[in-house]
Structures are given as structure tokens and as C-alpha cells.
Amino acid sequence: MSAQQVLFDAPGPRARRNILIGNIVGVLIVLGILAWIIATLGEKGQLEASMWTPFLEARTWEFFILPGLANTLKAAAIAIVTSVVFGLIFGVGRLSHLTPVRWVAGVVVEFLRAVPVLLMMIFFWLALGSSGAVPPQDAPFIAVVVALTLYNGSVIAELVRSGVQGLPTGQREAGMAIGLTAGQSLRSIEVPQALIAMLPALISQFVVILKDSALGFIITYPELLQYMRRLGVGEGNIIPSLMVAAAIFIIINFGLSTLATRLSVLLSFRTKGRKPAAEEAIAMDPAST
């Protein structure tokens, strides 16, 4: 239901007055919190011009922010592609009519969803770095991409599975009726429809990938956060640097989230036949960092 409209009546004069008072009190409290934060930061010298002027210099952008952002986006973009591939393979695997395939895919997906991404990153970083299988300089990058792929790929596998299971059974039956095998019906009829239906949830997962790429700083991958820390060391403005890094992440992710919401509205007419249960729940998978 749409709570905003029905939880309370169209306000009468008294309710309107109460709402107005509540509104003013609310604004005051919010402004009070903001003012306290700004005052404390100011008192500790974090708002001095010298803390912030580095962000107006081309050098900061050219050598810190943009290279860092490029590395973040590079890792995220590759991980998005690989995790969609991984998710499709294992999602279809979980729907296979062959019991062993279903089992293996199920165990792999459940295991990977239960293990923290950071744990996987540290493992691949140290294991790849010491084995000599990849150049040690590339180990952090590969570890970030592999860990993000394994985790988010298995979440996407679940999206594929619930997307297909949410389709009306008639779709599968119709496929069988025109002589397709179960696998053919899955590939050519069910999965394509499920993909369209899960697009919003998929984009929300991309937000998770982008945010999780920031874990790379713990394993020395030079992504945005790492560059911003380095900038903060040099300019002595680590807190403003982190704030700028956070703002960049928020802007990109907010854009992606908005896109996801728009798409889910746009696509709702194509997914009318679906059972509604899964949608809202997966569209906001809390996932990890």
C-alpha cells in the first residue's frame, strides 16, 4: 500500500496546525544537528580554507581524484560484467533439471553468499600474490575483481532464479507445448523475461559492487579511497578528502539507484503477470558494504 496517503486522513485545520508545528520542530532539529556538526568541524579547524583549496587545484584532480576514480570504475565495470556472466551460469544451473547440477550450483551459490567479500579479497590477494600466478602488482586488482564477482555473481544467480520462478507457469508450459525441451524453454523463453523483470534489482546490485570496490583499499588496490587517503596525507586534510570521496560515491550511486527505481516503474507493465512477492524484497538487497 502507499502509506503516505492512507495512514492519516486529509488533515483538517487542527491537524494542519499540528503538522505545521511538527514540521517546524523537525526542521529545527535537523538544522540543529547540522549546525552542531559544522560547528565542531569548524572548531577543530576542518573548515579552514586551506583544508579545502586543494580540491580547487587541477593537480589534485589530475593526479589523485581522477586516477583513483578511474581505478574504482575499472574494477567495478569489469566486476559487473563478470558477475552477470557468473550469475547467469549459476542461476540457470540452479534451475537445471539435472539434480547434480542443481546441487552443485546451489552449494556454490549459498557458500559464496555467506562469506564476507573482504575475507575473499584478502584471501585472493595473499594467495595470488605469493603463488606467483599473477604479477604481484596486479594481485590486488585481480583479487578485488574476483571477490566482487564471486559474491555479487551469486547474488545475481539468486535474482535469476527468483526471477524465473516468479514467471507465470504458463510461460514454461507454452514452451513445452511448442516442443521445446525444458532447457530450451528456460534459455529462450523464461530467462530473457526474468532478465527484464530483474533489471532494477540488477542495477541495485551494481551499486553494491561499486561500494564494495572501496574495500580494495584494505588490500592496497589504488582505488579512489586509497588515492584520497594519500592526498590527505600530503595535504594534512584527510577528513575533507574522505568527505569528497564519500560525496563522489554518493553521487554515482544515487544516480544508479534512481535509474533502478525509474526502470522498475517503467518495466512494471511488462511484469504484470508475475507473482509480486519477490520484487520489493530483492530490489533493496542490503548486501554488503
Binding site: 593537480r59 600474490g129 606467483g132 604481484p136 602488482q137 592496497t220 589504488p222 587517503r229 590527505g232 596525507v233
Partner: protein
């Protein structure tokens, strides 16, 4: 994309900038960008990128004591500045970088130890550091024995902090991802001391933003011989040692330390420095 940008910068910029422009690349191919201009032999040198005063990525150029020594040694080996490619060598990756020949040599606060000698060769030492404490200028801490009940900060997993913790159980140890976090916390007054090698502390204190706020106690309680890491079986050890000896002799060594720790109220341990390079194996 990044590579192209660096390559373009290399062509356009003056020679001094050229060398650093290609140093930022994290893949060996990128050396072509700057190397083509000067000709001659190129060197890939591993340094720290995030340790101000020793090896720090200034955004397109590199500064610090390790960098200065590396440039001097390279010049003595007949490699001009624009033919040096600086590569990031985080502590955890140093042995691997050498073993896989991703770098030709490493100047990255690399202590000579017997365990490490099993996998890599060392030239030098070019500096003898020691574990020390960085404290606020007005602090009365003069050594680890004053740390009882105080808050000490170091980098996660570092052995130097653990040593103090074992000997002085009353010390409260905070572990952070980097020294920058420690120094920020000490600036806010929540941390009483930061511990690691004295020259690293001096480099942190010498930062413009920290000028006058902190001092290095100057009471070292360990000996770390910073060497030049080389791949096992390298034939460069002898030449590097004579370059280091020459650098110490002509005063450039002293000058490099002074300029990189300016404003930190720091003097190196004169009993152990300047060191005499060990004979090569």
C-alpha cells in the same frame, strides 16, 4: 586510458617531469612512454608511494629520501633520471616484486634481515633507522617506559607496535591502516604517541600540514638497516655499494636527509650513521 594520458604527458613535458610521468604506470609496458625520449638503459625502481619524507607520490612526481638515494644510485649506474620508472612497492609485495623481476631494485624502507636474505639480495645499507616514538611537541614522553597507561598508535599487524605491547602491557595499542590515520588522531589529542622507524616518523612530522606539531623522541630502541633490495643473484650489488659510499662522501647523502626531514626537529642516530655498506655476497 591512463597509460595514454601518461604517455602524452611524457612527450609534452620537460625532461624532469617526463620521468615521473611514466613512473605512475603500474604495468611494465608503460615504461615505453618516457623511455623513448632519453634513450639508454632504463631502470624500474620500487619505492613507497605513501610515505612522506621517504617515498611519496606527489601527484606526477616523487619525493623523499629513498627517492633521492635511488636517483643518485641510478645516476652512478649510468641511468639518467628520465629513464627511471618508479613502481609502487608496498611492504607485503616487496619480495614478490623482486622474485618475479617486476622491478630491478627496491628502495622502500627495506630492512636487511636474515630471513629476507634467503629470498632476495641486498646492497647497502644506506641508512640505519631505529624504532622510535613520535609525540606532540609539548609531550613529556621520552621513551617506551613512559608509555604506561598511554595510547600508542601503529599500523595494523606491525611488529614494532607488538614489541612495545609485549614489554609494556599497560600500553593501549590502537592499530590503523596507515600512519596518516595515527598522526591525524594524535593531532586531535586522542593518541599520545606513534611508533615505527625514526626516519618514517620524521618524514610524517616534516609534512607541511604537521609542521611544528610533533617531535621525534630520538631514543631509538632497535636497529633497522635499510638496504637496496635486489633480485637473487643480481650483479649490481657492488656498483650500488660504491655509489652509496660516494653519495655519503660527497655530502649528498647528508643533504638528502636534511631536506627531507626539514621542520621535524629530527637528527639521525649519528653513532650508526652514515653506515658502511656490507660487502656483497
Amino acid at each position: 586510458m591512463r597509460k595514454t594520458r601518461y604517455a602524452a604527458a611524457a612527450v609534452a613535458a620537460v625532461a624532469a617531469l617526463t620521468l615521473s610521468a611514466c613512473g605512475g604506470g603500474d604495468s611494465p609496458e608503460s615504461e615505453g612512454g618516457g623511455g623513448g625520449e632519453g634513450g639508454g638503459e632504463t631502470l624500474r625502481i620500487g619505492i613507497k608511494f605513501d610515505q612522506p619524507g621517504l617515498g611519496y607520490d606527489e601527484g606526477g612526481s616523487y619525493s623523499g629520501f629513498d627517492v633521492d638515494v635511488a636517483k643518485y644510485v641510478a645516476a652512478e649506474l649510468g641511468v639518467s633520471e628520465e629513464n627511471i620508472e618508479f613502481v609502487e612497492a608496498p611492504s607485503a609485495n616487496r619480495e614478490n616484486l623482486l622474485a618475479n623481476e617486476q622491478v630491478d631494485m627496491i628502495f622502500a624502507t627495506y630492512s636487511i634481515t636474515d630471513t629476507r636474505k634467503e629470498t632476495v639480495d641486498f646492497a647497502g645499507p644506506y641508512f640505519v633507522a631505529g624504532q622510535d616514538l613520535l609525540v606532540p611537541t609539548d609531550s613529556d614522553i621520552t621513551g617506551p617506559e613512559d608509555l604506561e597507561g598511554k595510547n600508542l598508535c601503529s599500523v595494523t599487524g606491525s611488529t614494532s607496535a607488538q614489541k612495545i605491547k609485549d614489554q609494556y602491557p599497560g600500553v593501549q595499542l590502537v592499530e590503523q591502516p596507515g600512519y596518516a590515520e595515527c598522526v591525524t588522531a594524535m593531532g586531535g589529542g586522542q593518541i599520545d604517541a606513534v611508533t615505527t622507524d625514526d626516519i618514517i616518523l620524521a618524514g610524517l612530522a616534516a609534512q607541511e600540514a604537521n609542521a611544528g606539531k610533533f617531535k621525534v623522541v630520538g631514543n631509538t630502541f632497535s636497529e633497522e638497516n635499510y638496504g637496496v633490495g635486489l633480485p637473487k643473484g643480481s650483479d649490481r650489488c657492488g656498483d650500488i655499494n660504491s655509489a652509496i659510499t660516494k653519495m655519503i662522501g660527497d655530502g649528498s647523502w647528508e643533504e638528502a636527509i636534511t631536506s627531507n626531514t626539514e621542520g621535524a626537529d629530527y637528527t639521525y642516530n649519528a653513532e650508526l650513521n652514515p653506515p658502511t655498506p656490507e660487502p656483497c655476497a
